[in-house]
């Protein structure tokens, strides 16, 4: 009966062929480490955010007079409302953790290099969408931090040439962030996840065209590829288990870690809280914004700091395989960059003092400096490595995979 049904479907839709091509027969490098789990985890978080979000939307009211109270209603009156909300608010932070690790892995192992440029760029698009979504979602609880975060970020669009002031009013639908702004942010916050889901499909089509990269950094011969299912479905499931343990520790025991205390005060357009700061995942970029004394310059620097990753396939000019693994200078640069991001994050969370301004400027210069020296460093390093001879391990690998 099942066989008959499947064969009936197969005559009309390539079900079996699709499953075989993308799953049971999809060749995957056998040496993938756990760093390769984070793409799957990102997909899982996306689904969880969409599901919890839709159920939250059944109780939430996108009206500036009702929004704050409807959150309290969800937290106190709705059955398991607290769980839905904490899953969703913790999930937002988890999404960024997973995506940042996913990006760091790509940078470390050089997975952005030819032929995976488009895969990397669709990922960059997904990052921008994720940032937009989380920013709009953060306004919905209509607390003080929500309000002033939205006020400051929409104000950044004043940097638009000539029509800056009009653009800001247009985005808000009012002269300051208000009821109109809240309602449209809710509409867009509901829409964007489905655009993300579409972009994820494109990301996966690109992935399955160029195949997964692997820690060795070279394309493996057939003998070193194994089917995705069952080998990597099981590996992903194990990773998921570990992830869920950590995730639920936060959801159940420390759910307010990612909710600013000031956000439990209803939005007040007449009073800015004494210290406002964005969510942790925006802190490094916020620090760069603050480090530039000029409004337009700051906005440009911040935009560039996010978008500059797209240029990686061209800025990294080395042809040595294996990303940072076989490239000592690149590895050093990678760790300097990661440390610098943490430093920027620290600065972004501090109040403005002369010391924090200087520290922020130095860290911002290092951030862009890393990208600036990369094109030259990668070429010099490549010459040096070729002259010195590749490590025996790489040579052996290249020989073995020639087949």
């Amino acid at each position: 009966m099942i066989k008959k049904t499947i064969s009936w479907i197969d005559q009309r839709f390539p079900l079996t062929a699709f499953v075989k091509h993308e799953l049971t027969g999809y060749p995957t490098p056998r040496n993938l480490s756990y760093w390769w789990n984070f793409g799957f985890l990102a997909g899982f978080v996306l689904v969880l955010q969409i599901v919890t979000g839709i159920f939250l939307a059944m109780h939430y009211k996108a009206d500036s007079h009702l929004a704050f109270d409807s959150i309290q209603h969800i937290m106190r009156d709705v059955n398991y409302g607290w769980l839905l909300r904490y899953l969703h608010s913790t999930g937002a932070s988890a999404f960024f953790v997973v995506i940042y690790v996913h990006m760091a892995r790509t940078l470390y192992y050089g997975s952005y290099r030819k032929p995976r440029e488009l895969l990397w760029w669709t990922g960059q698009l997904l990052l921008l969408l994720l940032m937009a979504i989380s920013f709009m979602g953060y306004l919905l609880p209509w607390g003080q931090m929500s309000y002033w975060g939205a006020e400051v970020i929409t104000n950044l669009f004043r940097a638009t040439p000539f029509i800056g002031d009009q653009v800001v009013v247009w985005l808000r639908g009012d002269f300051s962030v208000g009821d109109e702004t809240l309602t449209r942010f809710f509409a867009l916050h509901f829409l964007f996840p489905f655009i993300i889901a579409g972009a994820v499909v494109i990301h996966l089509v690109a992935l399955h065209t160029v195949r997964s990269s692997n820690p060795s950094g070279i394309n493996l011969a057939d003998k070193d590829n194994i089917p995705f299912h069952p080998y990597f479905t099981i590996k992903d499931m194990f990773g998921l288990g570990v992830y869920l343990i950590i995730f639920f520790i936060f959801v159940f025991f420390y759910p307010n870690t990612f909710i600013e205390a000031a956000n439990n005060i209803p939005a007040n357009p007449m009073q800015t809280p004494p210290h406002i700061e964005p969510e942790w995942y925006f802190l490094p970029f916020y620090a760069i914004l603050r480090s530039v004394p000029d409004l337009v310059g700051g906005v440009v620097a911040m935009g560039l700091s996010v978008m500059i990753f797209a240029a990686m396939p061209y800025m990294d000019r080395s042809r040595i395989p294996g990303g940072a693994r076989y490239r000592p200078w690149y590895r050093l640069l990678f760790y300097v960059f990661i440390a610098d991001i943490f430093l920027l994050g620290y600065v972004g969370a501090q109040a403005v003092t002369p010391q924090s301004i200087i520290l922020g400027r130095v860290a911002s210069l290092v951030y862009f400096g890393v990208f600036l020296v990369l094109p030259f460093m990668s070429k010099v390093e490549e010459r040096m490595l070729i002259k010195r001879g590749l490590p025996p391990a790489v040579k052996e690998l290249l020989e073995g995979e020639k087949a």
Binding site: W148, E151, V152, T154, N155, L156, V169, W170, L171, G173, D174, F175, S176, G178, E180, R184, P269, M270, Q271, T272, P273, P274, H275, I276, R290, P293, D294, L295, G298, V352
Partner: protein
């Protein structure tokens, strides 16, 4: 596109094709307009455009904050000493004389939104304002004396309806 060699006037066909594309694109762009325009402030939001304030109860040295277009507006009753100090003072970031920022020197009316990124500055006991977000400082005339704010606090359009009443959002 085989058989294009049999067209007796290919230029005419290209021309028609181009015009059709241009007209179609213009139409598509025009169709976007209602959607874009719907996101601009609606009529009821625009109706909040003016605010009338009774200023008789503000004592010298006192400040009163009112909402105008959803934005805070600071109304300050300045003391003679403050007026004197401000008239003598000059600023460098956005130079503007004090007399140009007031209709009557004892009344300062400014939009209470930092010109950097839109936070509401807090009143400084000495008569100016200090922005809690990024540390911009304004004097008792609302002029910026320390960045990152690029401009002085905005002076809204307003006029005195009577000696004790002002209307913000409208010139005489």
């Amino acid at each position: 596109m085989s058989g294009s060699d049999t067209i007796d006037n290919p230029d005419r066909r290209n021309f028609l094709g181009t015009i059709t594309s241009v007209a179609g694109a213009t139409g598509a762009a025009a169709a976007c307009w209602p959607f874009v325009s719907s996101m601009n402030p609606s009529a009821d939001v625009l109706a909040k455009a003016t605010t009338e304030v009774d200023i008789s109860s503000i004592p010298p040295g006192g400040e009163h904050t009112v909402a105008w277009q959803g934005k805070p507006v600071f109304i300050v009753h300045r003391t003679p000493e403050q007026i004197k100090a401000m008239e003598a003072k000059e600023t460098t970031i956005d130079p503007e004389s004090d007399s140009k920022r007031v209709l009557k020197p004892e009344w300062l009316v400014v939009v209470g939104i930092c010109t950097h990124l839109g936070c509401v500055p807090n009143r400084d006991p000495e008569g100016g304002w200090l922005c809690p977000c990024h540390g911009s400082m304004y004097d008792a005339s609302g002029r910026v004396v320390r960045g990152p704010a690029p401009r002085n606090l905005e002076v809204p359009v307003y006029h005195f309806v009577s000696d004790t009443k002002i209307l913000i959002g409208k010139k005489v």
